[in-house]
Amino acid sequence: MVEQVSPLGPAWKSGRHNVTGTAPGVTLAETRPGSIVQVAAWPGEEKAVIDAVRAVTGLKLPDGAGGGIATEHKAAFGFAPGKFMVVTQVEGIEAELLKAIPNNVGTVTGLSHGRTALRVSGPKAEWVLGKLYAIDFALPAFPLHAGRSTMHHDVFTQIQRTGADQFDLYVFRSFARSFWTTLCHAAEEVGYEVR
């Protein structure tokens, strides 16, 4: 496999920053999935697309607005009516989804080169993200594995909660370094570790 080049460049600085206690408030990471794919269903074909995603990835994507599912190596979630993100550590899932979703059912768009996946985890994850986005990150309002589309200033972001205190963020690759720097600044207050 060819080594991926990170858009974060020199802004990615491994190690602990501003950690005063024994543990950082948040851990920041770039997850570098092999495949990031957007799947869209034509109106009325949502169930067929959900079934196709299950057949290809094994993920049981729940129906309903913002519903999602995540395992250690793959994830899927709804981010708009009839539209879903499918993310796997395996490369080339787009070709398999294209085979499973014919043109009359929906569309498959590969975003692996267009998005950067960032993970924010730790006891202060909700707090740090709450400073950036105008949405509620508390567990009752943002359930486990659910997805959200929102933005920080003009940086459009798709967010999935992949753990009680863990969120995966998908941002445009061209904005990723700038956004990462903003994220680091927001995390300074609580101390952060880059991994």
Binding site: G64, A65, S149
Partner: protein, 100 residues
């Protein structure tokens, strides 16, 4: 001002883009009726109170919405997907907890 997107739930107005007055009827694209196009392009009812409007959740799910906003209070009294032709959709695809 909060707008409750039928998909995303209540969101700040900064995530939305105004797309115009929803009280107008667009003439047939093939029409050459100058007066009808003039009315469509320039005439506005300038409502005091509830006003039908198109908005897009451009900083969210990117759905096009038709809603009613009070020009007096900014209160939003109804929101629906344009793709449903302005009709309220069944609850099955709505986010739990989303206001009606």
């Amino acid at each position: 001002m909060l707008i409750t997107c039928p998909y995303c739930g209540p969101r700040d107005v900064i995530e939305f883009t105004y797309q115009g007055d929803a009280n107008r009827t667009r003439p047939d694209p093939a029409s050459t009726d100058q007066a009808a196009w003039n009315v469509y392009t320039y005439d506005r009812v300038n409502t005091l109170g509830d006003h039908a409007e198109y908005w897009q959740h451009s900083g969210g799910c990117r759905s096009h919405l038709k809603l009613v906003r009070s020009t007096l209070t900014h209160a939003i009294s109804s929101t629906a997907f344009v793709r449903d032709h302005g009709e309220k959709k069944s609850a099955s695809r709505r986010k739990p907890g989303a206001a009606t």
